[in-house]
């Protein structure tokens, strides 16, 4: 059982709060701080429709096979327009090699087949600004459920919180459930 936590928190205060939680996490938890990772955006070249290997070679390339093998994925992101912060979206675009090749019907919708042997359970933790509309929280929860269908996740959950302290508390709680998203 392995867990990967991708965080798109750029503030020093935020990263300190995450550091406190993730340094104390078990060895099976891998933390990838996207604000420190050197990686390019998806070129939309379509190469991953035929091959699971992305043509880009950078610091994220080595993480893709580990994503395909992990049993739980946790994304921690400030909420921007009800969805991922652009830094998180830059990496989510790079998830495309996880699916590809033939089409299939999943939950009554057309999708590419998953390339993951055992797809991960998915948890989204979003930090919502005080001045954001409540509808953005609804969009974020909808995003989690749509990602779960797209990535063929066996389970998913979404948490929307209002401060970095709450992000840290929520992450601690999520990591304490060995089974992942409920």
């Amino acid at each position: 059982m392995s867990t990967i936590v991708l965080t798109a928190v750029e503030s020093e205060e935020g990263r300190r709060a995450l550091d406190g939680v993730l340094r104390a996490a078990p060895d099976a938890v891998e933390w990838v701080d996207l604000s420190k990772l050197d990686f390019g955006p998806c070129l939309a070249c379509g190469g991953c429709e035929e091959s699971p290997r992305c043509v880009l070679k950078d610091e994220f390339s080595a993480i893709v096979p580990r994503l395909a093998a992990c049993s739980r994925l946790i994304l921690v992101t400030p909420i921007f327009l009800g969805v991922h912060h652009p830094l998180m979206k830059r990496v989510v675009d790079r998830f495309m090699p996880l699916g590809g090749g033939p089409f299939t019907v999943r939950k009554g919708e057309m999708h590419h087949e998953s390339r993951m042997e055992t797809p991960f359970s998915l948890t989204l933790i979003g930090l919502l600004d005080a001045d954001a509309a409540p509808e953005e929280a609804d969009t974020f929860r909808l995003l989690a459920s749509r990602h779960a269908v797209n990535l063929d996740c066996p389970s998913h959950e979404a948490h929307v919180v209002g401060s970095m302290n709450e992000v840290a508390e929520t992450l601690t709680g999520v990591l304490s459930h060995p089974g992942g998203a409920r």
């Binding site: 939309a44 070249c45 009800g82 989510v92 089409f103 057309m110």
Partner: protein, 206 residues
């Protein structure tokens, strides 16, 4: 009537570009002045490009963002441009323009475009602009960056939808529900399982 079109695809052979080039042609034929913002790569959308965007948006009557849907959302390129525009929203406060969104993907069902269109709505709300609606096109992969006139069956939902959209933009109106429904229909009217079988046959041949 000044209309700004933003091309949100990072792809060289872009279906978004095909759709927006088709829209530009129709808008110009209707007498609109059209500015196309089209950085080919996210890296090209630097400060100078954002300056150019702000300048165009200051005098625009309408903005249309066209973007593909990658994993439920507009790609990084489009989202980061929206972030850059939002960071300078004070410079646009005097112009409450009308905002339209076009989301599309190779998958046929409109549900794939739902979150993306909601993100566009939130963008519009943050800027205090007027949301005039969004169109969700499915099955756009076979357009393959070609002019819409050359896409036959695969452009059969996009072409008439753009024909209908132009007078709506020119009249500063909202997109009617009936047009949203028509645009969202699959261009190939086959049951889903048969469609998937046909797409996989095409995939094997290519």
């Amino acid at each position: 009537m000044n209309v700004v079109l933003f091309v949100g695809s990072p792809r060289a052979r872009s279906n978004t570009r095909s759709i927006l080039v088709g829209l530009r042609k129709r808008l110009e034929q209707a007498g609109a002045s059209v500015t196309v913002l089209d950085p080919k790569r996210a890296e090209e959308a630097g400060e100078a490009f954002v300056d150019q965007s702000i300048e165009a948006l200051r005098s625009a009557d309408a903005l249309v963002i066209g973007a593909p849907v990658y994993l439920d959302l507009p790609p990084f390129k489009a989202l980061s441009w929206m972030q850059a525009i939002l960071s300078r929203r004070d410079e646009l406060a005097a112009n409450r323009l009308g905002f339209y969104a076009i989301s599309h993907s190779g998958y046929f069902e409109p549900v794939h475009k739902m979150v993306s269109l909601q993100a566009h709505m939130h963008f519009c709300a943050h800027l205090g602009w007027t949301w005039r609606g969004g169109l969700a096109f499915g099955g756009t992969s076979p357009i393959d960056g070609r002019p819409l006139e050359e896409t036959g069956l695969f452009g059969r939902r996009v072409r008439p939808a753009l024909d209908a959209l132009v007078p709506i933009i020119m009249a500063k109106q909202s997109i009617p529900c009936e047009l949203i429904r028509r645009a969202g229909r699959s261009p190939i009217p086959l049951p889903r399982h048969l469609l998937v079988w046909a797409m996989n046959q095409m995939l094997r041949r290519s």
